[in-house]
Symmetry: C2
Subunit: 204 residues, 2 copies
């Protein structure tokens, strides 16, 4: 049921209202698809609340565009034109971040990932968005491009009321420990097991 | 990677193209939140493909409206006004389906669930939508209101190219067996464990 009931009331000195309004660090991990899809689904709720949304995709592919990008940016346009919902920004690492001077297909992805993270820390300090989707951000941490300890510390100290969702396989134990909500998407059955290929509208 | 590579090529006599374009039955189950959210995320992709989308929520609450409803209906309006994306319909069982003569807070939910399912079978026969989200539809099956065997048979015989996503806990084994793709959302950590309550923008 949507409202939910706590299983226990903690002795943290907070009021129910304070606990209710706690900004969350959410991690979607596990081997199965649905991690990013569920994060973009959360963005629908955020949009409806009028929250400024920032999506940061830590993907190597330069031109790849998922259907969610077009759809969420269309909702951002609805906000601009009618005032309904919230504003939406969508940034991709791919061939270089939109704000970066370094662009092109030959960019250094390790450096680009660090640059993305630096921009996110600036935005967190400025309280620019209410929902951040850091899509596939577990990989730069896994590969040692961005320091997990630094990420956990920056997120722990973020000001105001900013929700952060991080997606990707193999979330670091430190990140899981720091998160408020962690969901693992587990494969029970997948059509590619029986030789099917990805298809439009479903996989992208 | 989005395109995906099959682990094995089956001897089913189908071409790659035929397999690629197979209409899918997708089940999101497991104890954790994210099942419906990921299904609505899939609807974003479907919208971007211009597919007609039908959401059918098998929920008892009459007035409850999740943020996804407002956001996806806003995308439906974008389609109506500009031709971009696809049309979106959203129906809720709650106090009676929109097309039903039986409405009000005193409705018989078992009968309403059966009525919802009958309407879905009619729409499948008419090939009305390309993506059906049957949200929380596992429960009417679990409670014996709608016969699982009948659902599996109707879905197996659906004509054309119609994708169906069913969400909810405790998916019946027959449904899992019939599905092409099954994801289980598993709880690793949830803020309600430590006494936090649900909050707007996150839980609804």
């Amino acid at each position: 049921m949507p409202q939910g009931k706590p299983e226990a009331v903690p002795e943290d000195g907070l009021t129910t209202r304070q606990r209710r309004n706690r900004p969350l660090l959410i991690v979607h991990t596990g081997p199965m698809k649905g991690k990013s899809t569920a994060a973009f689904g959360l963005a629908l709720r955020a949009w409806n609340q009028g929250w400024p949304i920032g999506v940061f995709q830590f993907v190597k592919a330069a031109k790849w565009k998922v259907g969610e990008e077009t759809a969420l940016l269309a909702l951002g346009e609805v906000h601009e034109q009618t005032g309904r919902g919230g504003p939406v920004e969508w940034h991709k690492m791919g061939a270089g971040w939109s704000w970066s001077r370094k662009q092109g297909t030959e960019i250094d992805h390790a450096e680009a990932a660090r640059e993305g993270w630096r921009e996110i820390t600036r935005r967190l300090a400025d309280e620019r968005h209410t929902l951040y989707v850091l899509d596939e951000f577990t990989y730069p941490m896994k590969w040692g491009w961005v320091d997990v300890g630094e990420v956990v510390e920056a997120l722990a100290n973020r000001p105001g009321h900013q929700h952060v969702v991080i997606t990707g396989r193999d979330a670091a134990p430190e990140l899981v420990a720091a998160a408020d909500l962690v969901t693992e998407m587990t494969k029970v059955k997948h059509p590619m097991d029986t030789g099917a290929k990805g298809q439009k509208g479903i996989e992208w």
